[in-house]
């Protein structure tokens, strides 16, 4: 299974939902997906195209475009192709369906994205802060307009 056949299969199965699909090299492909269909596309990728390995899931903040991109990097144990899939959300109220029913390890990635970017995941089994103390929830520190960085409290600097 190579990059070309994967992209062809994906775009023919989801002609409306998947757009801007492209092949960067033999082992790297990119595609954008509509936020409502993320779970369906992921299920198809896992069951029919053997993309069983969620490498990571994260978000990128674009204040200029007023968008948050949720990025899924999905690999496979069978073939070396990696698909970078993006879903574009509005910055004010980023809400997307959780992919935990398909990829079990998305659990922590989604909790982390929630506390660092403020992306809310629907139907997540246990959406609560992961790495930050509960008091810092709502500050969204990895957004570009976060005010608390750099932290100026250090006194012993040379």
């Amino acid at each position: 299974m190579n990059a070309k056949s994967i992209i062809a299969s994906l775009t023919s199965k989801f002609p409306e939902e998947v757009y801007d699909a492209d092949i960067e090299s033999d082992i790297r492909t990119v595609a954008k997906v509509k936020p409502d269909n993320v779970v369906d596309v992921c299920r198809y990728l896992k069951e029919d195209l053997s993309f069983g390995h969620l490498c990571c899931e994260s978000a990128v903040d674009y204040p200029g475009r007023n968008e948050i991109e949720v990025v899924y990097i999905i690999g496979s144990y069978e073939h070396p192709v990696i698909l970078t899939m993006k879903a574009i959300l509005p910055r004010e109220n980023p809400v997307i369906e959780s992919v935990v029913p398909v990829y079990w390890n998305a659990n922590w990635y989604e909790r982390e994205t929630y506390e660092l970017f403020g992306v809310k995941y629907l139907n997540h089994p246990d959406l609560k802060p992961l790495v930050l103390p509960i008091e810092m929830l709502g500050e969204w520190p990895l957004r570009k307009d976060y005010q608390g960085f750099p932290n100026k409290t250090a006194k012993n600097l040379v």
Partner: protein
């Protein structure tokens, strides 16, 4: 059986009377005794014992933690100075802050510090614990650890080598011997 019960009763009555009422008896407690001892030569003997058994708690918090593990093992053999790694804070005399203290970890670290029996000392091992190191501007780390814990020795480096930690312990031993350490109130 009856006799034993009787003696118990007698003891409780003595306690109720109080030591002040018994002629010739001086009221004292362990704090008073240690205060008296601090002014005498016995304290030197105690400090000699303390400085030669500095058991440290293994709490690998960052990059320095891995050097901490190496130091405790056979190659550097800190046992010859009486320095032994312990896993439990209840067994330890020295807490080594071996990395960045985060806002989430600080309450736990204070609790670990409270669990250690006195006399106890703190060593700041590595730049992160001293000044924040490479993470001085992070949103999640807590700076100025030395305002919270009575730090005796600072060991700079990122991470410092194992020999530096051994030297830090030797400096701490010198401080204890000279009664200049912050772990005990002189």
């Amino acid at each position: 059986m009856d006799e034993i019960e009787q003696t118990n009763v007698e003891q409780t009555t003595v306690q109720n009377v109080g030591y002040d009422d018994v002629p010739g008896m001086v009221l004292t407690d362990t704090n008073t005794i240690s205060d008296i001892i601090k002014k005498t030569k016995i304290q030197d003997v105690l400090n000699w014992g303390r400085k030669n058994s500095l058991w440290f708690m293994v709490n690998a918090m960052g990059c320095c933690g891995v050097e901490l593990l190496s130091t405790g093992m056979a190659h550097y053999d800190t046992d010859r100075f009486g320095i032994i790694p312990r896993n439990s804070p209840r067994h330890a005399d020295v807490m080594i802050i071996s990395g960045y203290v985060t806002k989430k970890y600080l309450p736990a670290l204070k609790r670990i510090w409270d669990q250690m029996p006195a006399p106890k000392w703190v060593i700041c091992y590595g730049d992160c614990a001293i000044s924040g190191g490479p993470f001085y501007e992070s949103y999640s780390t807590f700076q100025n650890v030395d305002e919270i814990f009575p730090v005796d020795v600072f060991i700079p480096g990122c991470p410092p080598r194992c020999e530096a930690l051994i030297q830090g312990f030797v400096e701490l031993q010198k401080k204890i011997e000279a009664k200049k350490d912050r772990g005990t109130d002189y």
